[in-house]
Amino acid sequence: MAKLYPQLEPFSATSSDEWDRVKVSHLLSRAAWGGTPEQIDHFLEIGPRAAVDELLDFPDGGADLIAQNDVPDLSQIEGYPKSFADRRKLFEGKSAEERQLVQQRLNQANQQALRAIVIWWMKQMVGGQYPLHEKLVFFWHGHFTTSARDERSAWLMWQQNETLRTHAAGNFGKFVKAISRDPAMLDYLNNQQNRKAHPNENYARELMELFTLGIGNYTENDIKEVARAFTGWAHDGEGFIYRKFDHDDDAKTVFGKQGNFDGDDVLDIILQQRACATYIASRLWRFFVSDELDPPIVTGLGDLLRDNNYELRPMIRTLLASKAFYAPTNVGVQIKSPVQLVISTVRSLGVAVPDYGRLYGSLDQMGQIPLMPPNVKGWPGGRLWINTSTLFVRQNTALWLAGGEPIVSGRKLMDRANRNQKNRPNVAVESEGTPSEIVDAWIERLVQRPIDPSRREILIGSIGKKPTEESVRAMINLILSMPEYQLC
């Protein structure tokens, strides 16, 4: 194996560059959903390598491996069919108009089912056993994007989430073959309509542009030929089916290779392209580290992926343990996604989500609801999360989670007076000490890195010479509303 690029070598503490709380918090922000004080203490103790190993130690499997008794029960939703056969029965013997009404009711039940899945998922993010697993599932959801916006079946979206969960840190080659058979994906990118007589190129194009190679690493002709290889790959509402008579059995030429290829064959050819490994490495780098790509680092990570026959874990381990990951230029520079913002707020304050329904509404206003990415590119992220209206929603949502007033939504303000008192963070312990010690403790807990000295002074001034529980809470609200809090 080639020598590792120096910046990809594992970080190890020195007297001038210690394994400190800032680094631990950075790891927990990026590779998890923000750390509680206990987790930070724990990782501080066990050191960087063991911390990454612990994060990566999760089972490669579906939801029942992590929460047997707690998967969303879609059968409890009124009007939601228990199986595809049940669903079909609802339509039998109905007139066109009646069928339309049935469809409308199904759509409503489907919306509820989708919501139940999203809420289940967010609960896993908040309190699940394997935060890096959830984070990777969320990453792949934005990578192999499928959106339920256009009334896509909740059942199929759940199935896809299980696929993402199973392969999140597994083998990328197997992963892309599984996703190419995933019913929700086949539906979303129109492979359902990809037939020998009328090829539909949508899946082939996005497969290469967004899922495996990146733009510029294939030709328009490759798209045509890959589309032909995927003809007849479809689903029957429940699972993958191969429609033999829709499949184009003639020879295709893909990346200069000729043969009677089917979908798996062209995926193998795509995986052989070096660009594929580099592209996947760049996507993971952007997600976990920074929008700034450092070419040798990304190439190094890509080679690692190829050398390991597309096993993801070794590459992710190297990335999260690397010197580059902890470089000062990469700490505190990522704008939190709305999901990251709300989940990490709940975790670092040690509070419960007061109302998942409202949280869903806030996420909508911030522009990110799980299962509902805006389009096949996923969420654009970075500075596009922030404008003058979303910034207020972000600040006000954090305040609400910390025990403040709920965000006003379209409905009547029933509970304006009903503040979220029981969910306030516990400040008793931190109230001990001088004003500056209290402020520093909360900055460390919430911002997790040093802040501008003048801003720190403003916070110290806010709690008074004799801090009270109330003045400390007010100071916490100020921290949650600072520009620094938008970053991790």
């Binding site: 996005e206 379209g410 890195r449």
Partner: protein, 451 residues
């Protein structure tokens, strides 16, 4: 591209001398400037102090006073075009709709063939005043009957692209020169519509002005923490000079995420104070429907009066998916729709802003010609659009022919006017910008506007 009116300001951006700083800040602040602005710039605390957002005299000198405005009203769910603009002279209409057809004698007749729904009296009055245009039989090739997909097609104006990522109005903003007003559209409603999303710009949207402000306590310290006031002297020096002279951590440097966030937070506060002040002070005797749509139009009227430089406003009225027993429901929707349009235009006229505003109303599709067995109508295709405003040309009261009720496409009306020709006409002849870069091809414009 409307460079002419904006030329001097563009120059000011390029020449960042101190004397310009304050003025630019005022303009920027009041523009609801978006995250997309990448001009490396920061304003020191003196400027912040000068830029009193509550000083209305100063704000009136800000840009946007004469700019043209487009207000888009989206009728979500598929409005029944045939019961909105009724072809009363065609027996086929009454044959197809024995239960839900609109009685001839109650219609507001526009000519000897079509009449407006009985609850659209205010629209008839606007039509008589030459302030309304009914564009008939609008649609697009291979109509899609899914709400989602068809709405996307109307928003992106790219029916051929399955995975379009931006909307036509978003691309309009993308195509204006950087640093120019306007930077983005404003939607009054929960989620920003795809139509307003650009590749480079994101629209603003808020459901209520109460959401467009900081809701926490201690507003004074909040303000300090979210401005250059809460910045180390070194940091202030850094961002003023544009050079990072300190490598200390936590010091805000030019172009950094923290500078960007602080700048956006400052802009947000100025805009928020301004908008909330405008809305609190806004008084009108005209009554809007008491729903999101009505409140939205009222907010828009107030923002226009408050001389916000926003060029495009967006608001939706939902509930048009009338599959069953549509009679009463559709009647109510028509009443709300008309009441909102009426109150809005009365306000705009009282403000004397009517020459600056055009309103466009559309729905993702019309409905089946034949009523269904449940006393409703199913998803259809072509439908009429409305445009309002004194800018409507004299001869544009009724545009196009009413589609035939007997020569149908799978039971649906055939379109004769592609909606993108309407967009092209609005872009070129109202917003004064070339439409081709936005719509991807050159559509023939229609003489809808006065010249």
């Amino acid at each position: 591209m409307p460079t002419k009116a904006h030329g001097p300001r563009l120059k000011a951006y390029n020449r960042m001398t101190p004397s310009h700083t304050r003025r630019i800040f005022l303009q920027k602040g009041l523009t609801l400037v978006s995250a997309a602005v990448t001009v490396p710039m920061f304003i020191d605390s003196t400027v912040w102090a000068l830029a009193d957002p509550l000083d209305t005299k100063r704000t009136q000198q800000a840009s946007g006073k004469d700019g043209k405005i487009l207000v888009v009203v989206q009728m979500s769910g598929g409005n029944d075009g045939l019961n909105t603009v009724v072809p009363y002279a065609d027996d086929a209409y009454y044959r197809a709709r024995p239960g839900i057809g609109q009685a001839k004698d109650k219609l507001h007749k526009l000519n000897n063939y079509i009449g407006l729904h009985p609850n659209l009296a205010p629209l008839k009055a606007m039509y008589d005043d030459g302030m309304a245009s009914v564009i008939q039989g609008v649609g697009y090739p291979n109509p899609n009957r899914s709400h989602f997909r068809s709405m996307d097609i109307w928003h992106t104006a790219q029916p051929e692209k399955e995975t379009a990522t931006s909307g036509w109005l978003g691309r309009y903003f993308d195509n204006t020169c950087e640093g120019q007003d306007p930077q983005e559209g404003v939607c009054i409603g929960g989620q920003a519509p795809l139509a307003l999303k650009g590749e480079k710009t994101q629209p603003l949207s808020f459901e209520r002005p109460e959401n467009f402000r900081y809701n926490g306590p201690d507003k004074e310290r909040y303000h300090d923490l979210n401005s250059s006031k809460g910045m180390d002297a070194q940091a202030q020096q850094n961002v003023k000079s544009g050079v990072a002279t300190s490598k200390r951590p936590a010091i805000i440097t030019p172009g950094s995420q923290l500078e960007f966030l602080t700048r956006t937070a400052m802009d947000a506060q100025v805009s928020s104070d301004k908008i909330n002040k405008i809305l609190n002070e806004y008084q009108t005797k005209n009554s809007y429907p008491n729903n999101e749509y009505g409140n939205g139009l009222r907010t828009i009227a107030a923002m226009i009066k408050g001389e916000m430089p926003t060029r495009v406003y967006y608001v939706s009225l939902g509930g048009f998916d009338t599959h069953a027993n549509q009679g009463g429901r559709h009647d109510n929707l028509m009443r709300d729709f008309a009441q909102g349009v009426d109150a809005f235009w009365k306000d705009i006229k009282e403000q004397k802003n009517e020459q600056r505003v055009v309103m466009m109303c559309f729905s993702e599709f019309g409905r089946r010609v034949e009523q269904n067995a449940s006393g409703g109508t199913d998803h259809g295709a072509a439908a009429p659009m409305f445009l309002f405003g004194p800018a409507i040309a004299k001869k544009a009261g009724i545009v196009g022919q009413h589609p035939s009720l007997t020569q149908l496409d799978n039971g649906d009306l055939k379109f004769a006017i592609d909606f993108r020709t309407v967009y092209a006409s609005i872009l070129e002849n109202w917003l004064e910008t070339p439409s081709k870069p936005i719509l991807g091809q050159q559509f023939k414009t229609m003489p809808i506007f006065r010249t």
